[in-house]
Amino acid sequence: MSAAEAHAFAYAFSPSPCGGLRVEVAGTRVMLRPCGGLWLEAERALIVSDLHLEKGSAYARRGQLLPPYDTAETLAVLEREIAVLNPALLVFLGDTFHDRWWEARIDPAGAARVRALTVGRQAVWVTGNHERDSVKTLPGEMADEIALAGLILRHEPLPGPAWGEVAGHLHPCAVVAGKGRSVRRRCFVTDGERLILPAFGAYAGGLNVRDAAFAGLFARPPLMGALGKDRVHAVGWRSVARD
């Protein structure tokens, strides 16, 4: 009997050679990628959430001159991921831009790179209502939510358990205390029924998975997939601490 079968609360997961972590969500096998994206191999679909592009310039507008490199940084990670996986479908799971005035602030090269992401593939912008204006000029479809491979993809998780839901919005982060120090990393969170994606954007902050905002979303103590360097680490609920 494997460790995973020994306990009712145990999760089936297996590391992949690419550094990702395979888990099942509502019976669908998915891959959690080290960059923070979700890969559905059968559909060749890549799902990313909460890019918050042009967050730096949004702060600069209000007088906090953060380094103006966040958009370039975020796009570079996504471009590398696309180059490796060559997805047929690219899903943006909401909060792709930090605010609706991003087009007025982004530099022309950055704007061109955003458009180039969708070239040669299908793109879906899953949005909340407030975000419609942000993406209407971009190539691809807009949707409140989409169904894919037995999963429901939406930006903000519904309250209470939701079978098969894949969402973002919460920016989950896991704090793992080691001997003498602790590590805080973005993470995937799943109880096998639903999955919350980490934020993908360079300047997107994180919310501790022990925060009350996550309470009630999961039927049992969830499994975290913490983003390490080139690897997603499986972390159990008992190993994560508060901030």
């Binding site: 310039s57 001159l65 380094p67 003498g180 602790s182 159990g236 601490a241």
Partner: protein, 874 residues
């Protein structure tokens, strides 16, 4: 305690003042009269005197006299004297102490304090109608200097008094204060500066800091360069009337300037030195429990019964410790022994302010027999009748110790009594060395520092908020502040560009400039909103975000506040866990927002998280004395028997290094191989050294597994033996090159330093708890900014600031560098069969704490994955 006044006293003190002294049965002390004389002459002056010498009154006397003698005015007057204290509480205390002479002499002088705690209406009134004397903190001064109209507010300022200079000058707070002094001097060129300081080894360092036109640090004397932003030195005025200062060319010879220090001999430092009389030499004893000193440990638990007995015999004792954890621990232990129910209190920085104030008030009323305290009581407030100072565990530095001993008996003529309680054998050596240093009156040196550029960035922004500035004039003004004396124009331009646009190579923020250059060539703040936001963020103290500890009330609500803990302190605890805080055992219920909810617990064995090691590194000077004491075998006779025996066995089984040598031992133990190096440079420097050594050992293929450090030594253990290594190569200075760079960039200490710089420089706002997003706070980590900036612009100004800070403050690279160069070619290697007497204390630290190197973060995550399997199997 009347003391014969010097002959000129009647001339110096007006009748009303002389009468006041006489009525109280006092005579003005010589240094008080000397300060009056300096005031009459219009000279900048630094008074160095031990605590209890009437130092504060000496600082104020010239101002009180001048204010008493001034003719009546028809129009409202501006601020006359500004007093700056590093402690809020001290400013308030001085306000109270000043009230007595003003009242008793019937002077019509107003003196008011202004701190962060002062009410808004009083602050508002102080701006509209300033008191004659304003007592405040460096942070409030920085704020006042950033207000529109600062120039008019300060243009009548006649005197600025900086108290406890020794505690601020060598820090970022000191940098900011010095910049603001330069600003005040520009507003009021005739401003006279007065500094008050505890005893220091080299007063010239502080004189230079205080000087309005600082001479070069490398001595040299000679005429100072002119210019200096038009700040002129105040010269002695004939007639010695009040404020009859005559501006003289800055190269005018100064006959009154004198300095006893060799470095400053014959050199005009621009600030006259006045020395108070030294008090009687303190009596320092070392407490040995049953004549023995334990092998290892930091708490001195073994001696607590004797400490309690000593407290019982004393009238009032201050029990100093080095960390909050030790404070809590000692407090618990003493109360466990407290059969007589002596009033023993606790005082440290995490306790709620009201609770600290209550302890201070009870102390002042003489109701307490002992207070267990940390450095929070190092400075300032007059306690009255403390007759004994106890130092639990090692003193770490002679100067700090003298300061602490100075807390006992604020009467100079009586000898102060102090007792050291060493917690382990190396500490015994340290206590003995400190005792001898104090007896010889040899103190630690505080090296002069170069002003931090993030602080300068904040100051430049403040200047722009107050009024438009001309960059060249501001540059000259800034260079009148000692720490910025050698600031290059290039760096200044860099700072201005940073303040304006963020200073990025990618110029995409031109639209969002915080300060803009007008057609007149003057820089001004973009708009009032930007200025307001800046003013909310002034100050150079960066403390970690704090959580309030509160009793859990009904319905999960927070009740009374017990104190504050640093964010991150509780991460090792789960709900239900117990910990000791504020002298009681508490059970963690939950963390809600910024509240930590707890209930009292009866747990006898609380899960007590460590509160970090000693905050203070062993001072360089004391470390030298410890090494010397160890080397001089004739000297060992002063040590207790078991410590002497320990040294003798070390000598016979391994070796005792010479004063300038580094002892490195290698030996097998269990299935591991150990390397111990006894560098005596403090935990911080050792940790850095160990991190760097581990990288090298990894490359050498010996498979290092971990390391541990304390103030005296470091130990590394590995899979393969290390006795065949080329130690000269291993400890070569070149490790401070690439290895340091590579390690530092990944180090969480760099991230911590970066956060500090980002806040001080104004890149991010102080309470930057992120955007509010649907009501939930999402932590916006400066780590993210750090990572992005490092990848895209590794040479950015702020990364440079962070590297400098990390290297000096957090990891003590300078100290490692000095050590490596000192021991070059002087490594003594002892290849042993088994562990040595010296190695026992450090090996006993293993398991208590482990600092991981290199891929540490990944290891933590991997271990968590192992835990998961264990969790699944349970």
């Amino acid at each position: 305690m009347p003391r014969a006044a010097v002959a000129s006293a009647p001339d110096l003190l007006p009748a009303r003042f002389a009468g006041w002294f006489a009525a109280r049965g006092w005579a003005a002390r010589p240094h008080q009269l000397a300060m009056v004389e300096k005031g009459r002459e219009g000279r900048h002056a630094l008074l160095i005197a031990p605590t209890g010498g009437g130092k504060t009154l000496a600082g104020f006397l010239p101002s009180l006299i001048a204010l008493a003698e001034r003719p009546p005015a028809n129009s409202p007057r501006g601020l006359h004297t500004l007093y700056i204290s590093p402690l809020k509480a001290l400013a308030v205390d001085v306000e109270r102490n000043l009230a007595a002479p003003i009242r008793e002499m019937g002077l019509s002088i107003t003196a008011e304090s202004r701190t962060g705690d002062t009410g808004a209406s009083r602050k508002q009134r102080q701006r509209v109608k300033p008191p004659d004397i304003l007592l405040t903190t460096p942070e409030q001064l920085a704020l006042l200097c950033s207000w529109e109209g600062a120039r008019a507010y300060f243009e009548d300022l006649s005197c600025v008094i900086v108290d406890e200079i020794h505690a601020v000058h060598s820090s970022k707070r000191g940098d900011l204060l010095c910049l603001d002094l330069a600003r005040l001097q520009m507003f009021a060129p005739r401003l006279r500066r007065v500094g008050l300081s505890a005893t220091v080894n080299d007063p010239a360092v502080i004189q230079r800091w205080l000087s309005p036109n600082p001479p070069p640090c490398n001595g040299g004397g000679g005429p100072r360069s002119g210019g200096g932003g038009g700040v002129l030195q105040a010269e002695s005025a004939e007639g010695a009337g009040e404020n009859l200062l005559r501006a003289a060319p800055s190269h005018a010879p100064s006959t009154a300037s004198r300095s006893p220090s060799p470095a400053g001999a014959g050199e005009d430092l621009g600030v006259d030195l006045v020395l108070g009389q030294g008090g009687a030499a303190p009596v320092v004893d070392v407490l040995l429990s049953e004549g023995r000193v334990p092998w290892a440990g930091h708490t001195a638990q073994h001696a607590m019964a004797e400490v309690y007995e000593v407290i019982k015999r004393a009238q009032t004792a201050l029990v100093f410790v080095n960390t909050r954890f030790q404070a809590e621990f000692a407090f618990q232990e003493l109360w466990r022994l407290n059969e007589d129910a002596l009033p023993i209190a606790l005082h440290h920085g995490s306790l709620a302010a009201e609770q600290r104030r209550r302890v201070e008030a009870a102390m002042a009323r003489g109701e307490l027999r002992a207070v267990v305290c940390t450095s929070t009581l190092d400075l300032g407030i007059d306690w009255g009748d403390v007759d004994l100072v106890i130092q639990l565990a090692s003193p770490k530095g002679a100067s700090r110790m003298v300061q602490r001993i100075g807390r006992a008996t604020h009467r100079m003529d009586e000898a102060r009594h102090a007792i050291f309680v060493p917690a382990n054998r190396f500490e015994m050596l340290e206590c003995q060395a400190a005792r001898e240093a104090i007896a010889e009156n040899r103190l630690d040196d505080d090296p002069p520092r170069t002003g931090a550029l993030d602080v300068l960035a904040q100051h430049v922004m403040s200047c722009a908020c107050a009024e438009p500035f001309d960059p060249l004039a501001l540059y000259e003004e800034v260079r009148c502040a000692g720490p910025y004396r050698d600031l290059s124009w290039g760096d200044f331009e860099l700072v201005v560009d940073f303040v304006s646009t963020g200073g990025y190579a990618l110029k995409s923020y031109d639209r969002f400039k915080r300060i803009v250059k007008g057609r007149d060539g003057l820089w001004k703040v973009r708009n009032q909103e930007t200025a307001q936001r800046h003013r909310m963020n002034v100050g150079a103290i960066v403390s970690p975000a704090m959580l309030d500890v509160r009793y859990a009330g009904r319905g999960g609500k927070g009740g009374r506040k017990i104190g504050e803990v640093e964010e991150g302190y509780l991460e090792v605890l789960d709900p239900g866990d117990t910990f000791v805080f504020a002298g009681q055992t508490l059970k963690l219920i939950s963390v809600t927002g910024t509240d930590v909810l707890v209930t009292p617990a009866a747990d006898k064995a609380p899960k007590m998280p460590s509160w970090g090691g000693s905050k203070f590194a062993l001072s360089t000077y004391l470390a030298l004395r410890v090494r010397r004491l160890m080397t001089e075998q004739d000297h060992w006779s002063v040590l207790p028997g078991d410590v002497r025996e320990w040294l003798e066995i070390q000598r016979d089984r391994s070796l005792i290094p010479g004063e300038g040598e580094l002892l490195v031992e290698t030996f097998p133990r269990g299935n591991r191989h150990f390397l111990c190096a006894y560098a005596f440079e403090g935990r911080l420097a050792h940790t850095t050294l160990a991190m760097l050594l581990t990288r090298r050992l990894e490359r050498a293929g010996v498979g290092p597994l971990g390391f541990v450090c304390n103030d005296y030594a470091l130990a590394v253990w590995s899979l393969k033996p290390m006795d065949g290594l080329d130690l000269d190569a291993l400890f070569h200075e070149d490790m401070l090159g690439d290895d340091l760079e590579a390690w530092l960039d990944e180090s969480f200490m760099m991230k911590r330093a970066f956060k500090g710089c980002a806040i001080v420089s104004g890149l991010i706002e102080r309470r930057f708890r992120g955007e509010q997003k649907s009501g939930r706070a999402i932590t916006f980590s400066t780590d993210l900014i750090y990572d992005v900036l490092r990848r895209h612009e590794p040479d950015h100004f702020l990364l440079r600031c962070a590297r400098d800070d990390a290297a000096t403050g957090l990891i003590d690279v300078a100290r490692v560098g000095q050590m490596l160069s000192r021991i070059k070619g002087r490594i003594r290697h002892a290849a042993l069969d088994h562990l040595s007497p010296f190695s026992v204390p450090i090996l006993l630290e293993i398991g208590k704490e482990r600092v991981l190197g290199g891929a540490a973060a990944e290891m933590v995550l991997s271990e968590a994955a192992e835990d998961l399997i264990a969790e699944a199997m349970s």
